[in-house]
Symmetry: C2
Subunit: 309 residues, 2 copies
């Protein structure tokens, strides 16, 4: 039996090395060179071709190469009976919190304003909001959001989180569901999106949501490009209602050369680099799940397709 | 008896309000309107005029408005018998660690490179050093340096510290004294200076020290401008040995309009804003020390002039 690998983002040779170091007999095949289709027992994938996963009759595990599975669940022909897993890796979480912290601290300490002053040769100490009074709001309190929330609280920030179902995290003000969203947004000066992409969260960062933030707020989106209505963000920045945005994800990646984000003075563009799966760190959990699937046991980090994560 | 206030950086009215809110009878005088000199019992100062503090016969407390006292000890006519205190304020410490973290994360996550890419419209994920393998080295493990060290270690960095006398901090690799400096520098990829300014540390960030860092290292100086030989830094950056520097302090402040730092593409200039004393937060410790001085007791946060801090 064999493993099928497919991703346009991840390096197959790095994964081959990491997996074979742990299981030397693994039959590792890189799409489209699948060999006999009935020999494929597991798929380790990012954004597989729609319809492709339905073509392996003996498939018993579909593993996403990332923390999100929207890249898999969007396939209308997905075989319903095969378990789907995602990577929940302490190192992925750590990378994501670190990226968000980097951008939050930059905005909090007004480094965008200081860089503008430097370009103009201006020496002036700017009013600095107190950390304890700086409200950072996190959309999504899953594994990623709750890790970031704890790290921000440890640094002394006033942290709030919004989640679909109630979550209790010490020191974090929690808001829940549709009815909690406005109260959450009204108090949020730096908004970080760490939601999973589902039909409910697609386009959530729109005109209305951005308008509910206080004047001069900042946005950090390191979840999925599809969370954001990009033209609504540009409008909010241009009208001066938002002070800045740091974006790692986009509706279309790579970002088109003529996209307005590139040259926008209030937008920081990074190329989907916030958190990158490292084969050495994530290979063990995939192999463990492969063993469980072979033994007919439930894998860890199992996705509920009806929930979307 | 009266209190004399003098600073070109701090707002006398904010201090007056904060002190009088706690001690309404305080006779608060702002230099040069000192009134009768023999009525001055305490001086709350930043960079007093050399020779001035010797002119108050009943002075029994000299309090620096900041964490450093080089601005006072540089006075050759300082009255030797009057105790000198400095501000050790959890909020000053927190601000300083936050500033350093902001700059360290920016360099660690290669935001300078990503900003260059953005300006050129380039979409490319850059190699990201692992946090656990990223060595941040802190010069000075006093109140400020050790707070930063702990926060960096909590975020997963490989942290080392260098101090005059041995310091034990859990999870931090310690180096001590002249003989430990080279080993400390050789392994440091991001160097942060948080030393007090003393005759021993003046000019410590020179050509030789910068040359001992590995190729591509970064410098963050948020201590004192006099720690750095500024032309040596420009040379190290221009020759490509150093990758970047974030500076908050300078030999002459405000930074002269024609200073090469302003326009240097690898230098971040901030206007001595890393950590600003807030009257409300620091007034209580000054008043407590004034009470102690009146009672003939030793004040807290007492400076040892022979050590320089």
């Amino acid at each position: 039996m064999a493993l099928l690998f497919k991703s346009h983002l991840d390096d197959p040779e790095a994964w081959r090395r990491a997996l074979l170091a742990l299981e030397p007999d693994l039959d590792f095949r890189v799409w489209p060179e699948t060999g006999a289709r009935d020999e494929i027992e597991a798929a380790l994938v990012w954004a597989p071709e729609p319809g492709d996963l339905a073509r392996y009759p003996n498939l018993r595990l579909i593993a996403s190469l990332g923390a999100g599975v929207d890249n898999i669940l969007s396939d209308p022909d997905l075989p319903a009976e095969v378990p789907i897993t995602r990577i929940i890796d302490p190192d992925l979480t750590r990378q994501m919190s670190e990226y968000a912290l980097t951008q939050i601290l930059r905005f909090h300490r007004r480094m965008d304003d200081y860089e503008r002053q430097q370009r103009a040769g201006v020496w002036r100490v700017l009013a600095q909001p107190l950390t304890a009074e700086r409200r950072v709001g996190i959309l999504g309190l899953g594994v990623l959001g709750s890790d970031l929330a704890r790290k921000l609280a440890a640094l002394g920030f006033d942290v709030a989180g919004w989640s679909r179902t109630p979550k209790e995290i010490e020191g974090i003000t929690g808001f829940t569901g549709e009815e909690g969203l406005e109260g959450f947004l009204t108090g949020t000066e730096i908004l970080v999106c760490l939601l999973p992409l589902t039909p409910e969260t697609e386009g959530i960062l729109d005109k209305d949501l951005l308008a509910a933030l206080p004047e001069g707020a900042y946005l950090v989106n390191c979840a999925r490009g599809e969370h954001l209505i990009e033209k609504d963000l540009v409008a909010a920045l241009d009208e001066g209602r938002l002070a800045g945005a740091a974006l790692d994800v986009y509706r279309a990646e790579p970002l088109a050369p003529d996209h307005p984000f590139w040259a926008h003075p209030k937008v920081i563009v990074t190329p989907h680099c916030a958190s990158v799966t490292t084969p050495a760190s994530s290979a063990p959990q995939f192999l463990d799940n492969l063993k469980r699937a072979r033994a007919g046991r439930a894998p860890s980090n199992l996705v509920d397709p009806s929930r979307g994560y």
